[in-house]
Symmetry: C2
């Protein structure tokens, strides 16, 4: 059924009220893409439910009418996981933003999927608790989106990714069936399976998360490094010493310059790399850890180590990291944030390769990293109004991914596959691997109506509008190039 | 095909050599059950592969001949997960016990599935590393079995369960296909899904685990408590203080008496409960944590707090816990270890209910707990030669589980479902929940030939010999009783 047909829109409006349905082109324009802006496409219609019962009703209707449905939170996803098309309903959960319940004795909080990440911590901060996963998008991204992408963040190194903090999920299956999943349950770990499944198995409507104590004390240091090699040597030395920092982030010179220009934080602009290192925990022993880190960095060639002496100072150091990608708007009209993983020891090598890829395609590439995890975010600067340059960005992105995989790494650290990387799964998975994943999807989503064409390469049940012959041609080019490296 | 037929045994022997196949009743007798001894049954034939290629060949053969296959490690499982029958091949991985590789810079170790848990730590202890999950069976249980059951242990409270330490799995699908899964991979979290799936999705042949630094320092305390209520109040106070102990174990008076009689450790025999509390980490600050714990315990009525002052002393305190179940052989010819979970705050209530259940069925029940996790192990003492008493043990076990669920808990903390609890899943799962789990199983194991009848209640594809009308009758009895509570 065409989701633009008056009959379908009438049925949807009967479920949600006219206010819950958006179908004019102007209304739909803001939903043309998420933060992956290389491919834009208006949805057929946008549905804005307020309750799980409404989500269930929408899915039941779409299932009955054979209409594809694409779930979306705040649209901060960087891999096109909520990109949709004119044949589909965009199921936007942003209105489902309530904190449902807080249980401090058992350290858990339940929120609707559309609640903003930072709102979870705000709800319990006064009681000395926090929700640990803190993606840089935490002021905008939703907990449902964090679950869908198994989001990380700067503090992943110590605290783990989203799945390590999810205690339960309320999900709606593509046929409208509502299930309550608990991580405490026996049987197959369905909470773990749905987390990170990018909305291809079920729509997450409520999330129960683990709360952790706000650390008693924190020490934050900024380390100015002459070279990236120096910086990675320091990282290895710190990890080898047995200290587990709460965060271990790196930003390169391009980012430093942009941040400094935007915020005048007094950051060094002569360094090739800067490390942001944080340790947290009980006050006792923390100074010793900070001193040991400072000594190790000096030993391995640090130009300077600055320690934050108060909360304001700490915020200043973190601004450099959290606002880094945002400030790149000063350098170019568009940017595409890549997301790859390499073994920590391969960071210098991969940076050299990324620089070479940028030079080859005449693209400026800045770099921010969760360096402790080996999770890198090269940011390609470009102008999306120039279709020829967009093509080069896509090719360069593919080459960066291939380089990560060749270095023994992975295709994504935390941003997911979406549509961006779906065609690159062949680089890491065998046909048998992909076959078993397609079967797992089929167990939940047998008709492929839920978020079709995402996460997995083309199967039998994808939206035709998401087939990208051009992308496949680019992939072949990338593969040839990767093989030649 | 009958796995006892000379033709089938001939085919199997051609794959493994005569030495790799056991088919005489005397040889098979030791495989009649795992550590869940309430139901025993000889396998059709036992296959003892040495390599993944052999496992693949066995599964391919069984798949072609329609013969059910049951994987098994050391047989320490407490829920009958490797119980088999005369129509099936028991695939025993105990000969696959090699440490395949050690990569200290990246803190990972790869072992064959049949490697003993403690062997992993022994292989890296001299370098200052350990494999954290330490089930009480760690001297015998295999890493493959730990993965199959997502095993925990006393240090789960701080370090998490097995899945938190698995970086990769080599698995063989029921049709013989070999896959390499990595936790770093994008796409669905198949490592997480297979971990804890009790051999119903695939046979795990090699495991890559995370290594953690051996803690710089440890403080171990034994706290003598007047009542179980006192002990649980102390536990809540410790957790609320923000300290995360490495272990927080409880044993009751019955166990204390048995351990003391066996080992003469000088433990108190007048206490209703004893807590074993351990903190670990950097030396700095650890004394302060230990002092704080001691103060909190005293404040909440501790009769005495003993601190281990050296490694020998620490080993003595741990003996009380790790050997606790083993010593029960002094009190009765047989024992059945239950495994339930309740919210920590419900520990006193559940202990009173367990005592009442024991009294009602004239059964002596001892208790050991991972108290910090609310994971309890009531141990029912009995004589397995008395069929009437066995029946009472089964009923009491069901009632204990129902009581855990009624208290807001779960059916199993770490021992799995196996055959023991399969019929109790209805207590926590809706038919829709079980349906989606059956579909997930079907994605991997479509013919149900791999470990049939385990983990899930009866479906269409279970071994007839595992249907237990008697157990179902008991379940109904249990349900009626639970409803009456």
């Amino acid at each position: 059924m065409n989701p633009l047909s008056p009959a379908f829109i009438g049925e949807l409006s009967a479920l949600l009220g006219a206010d819950g349905v958006r179908h004019s082109p102007a209304q739909k324009a803001v939903y043309a893409s998420d933060a992956y802006t290389l491919e834009k496409s208006l949805p057929g219609v946008v549905a804005l439910p307020r309750t799980t019962a409404e989500v269930s009703a929408i899915l039941r209707l779409c299932h009955a009418r054979g209409v594809p449905t694409v779930p979306r939170g705040a649209g901060t996803g960087l891999a096109g996981g909520s990109t949709t098309g004119s044949d589909a309903v965009l199921l936007c959960l942003s209105r489902m933003s309530e904190i449902v319940s807080i249980d401090l004795p058992n350290r858990r909080l339940r929120a609707q999927a559309g609640a903003i990440n930072i709102a979870l911590t705000k709800a319990v901060a006064a009681d000395g608790y926090q929700f640990a996963p803190d993606p840089s998008s935490q002021g905008a991204s939703t907990i449902g989106g964090n679950v869908a992408n198994n989001a990380g963040g700067p503090h992943t190194l110590k605290y783990g990714v989203t799945v390590n903090h999810v205690l339960g999920l309320q999900i709606v299956l593509p046929d409208g069936e509502i299930l309550e999943l608990s991580a405490d349950d026996c049987g197959y770990d369905l909470v773990g399976l749905v987390t990170g499944s990018e909305g291809t198995l079920a729509v997450v409507t409520e999330v129960t998360v683990k709360l952790v104590k706000t650390p008693e004390a924190v020490r934050t240091m900024l380390v100015v490094c002459r070279t990236v090699d120096d910086a990675t040597t320091m990282i290895s030395a710190i990890i080898a010493s047995g200290i587990l920092p709460a965060a271990l982030e790196m930003i390169d010179r391009t980012i430093l310059l942009a941040v400094e220009e935007a915020y005048k934080l007094g950051l060094p602009t002569d360094a090739e790399a800067v490390l942001l290192i944080e340790v947290d925990g009980a006050e006792a022993g923390l100074n010793r850890q900070a001193e040991r880190i400072t000594a190790l960095c000096r030993e391995h060639g640090a130009v300077r180590v600055e320690a934050a002496t108060n909360a304001l100072d700490r915020a200043r150091l973190w601004t450099a990291r959290k606002k880094s990608v945002g400030t790149l708007g000063r350098l170019a009209p568009s940017h595409a944030t890549q997301d790859g993983v390499v073994p920590r020891t391969k960071l210098p090598q991969i940076l050299r390769e990324i620089a070479a890829i940028g030079a080859r395609h005449k693209l400026r590439i800045a770099n921010v990293f969760h360096a402790g995890d080996g999770n890198l975010h090269p940011v390609v600067l470009f102008d999306e109004r120039d279709p020829e340059e967009v093509k080069r960005v896509l090719i360069a992105g593919g080459e960066i991914l291939a380089a990560c995989v060749n270095a023994g790494g992975a295709l994504t650290g935390e941003h997911g596959i979406g549509i961006e990387k779906r065609d690159f799964l062949h680089l890491v998975f065998s046909p048998e691997d992909l076959d078993i994943m397609a079967k797992v999807r089929g167990a939940f989503n047998p008709d492929g109506l839920l978020n079709p064409g995402k996460l997995l390469p083309f199967g039998g049940n994808c939206c035709p509008h998401l087939r990208r012959p051009e992308a496949e041609a680019l992939l072949n080019l990338t593969k040839t190039r990767a093989a030649a490296v």
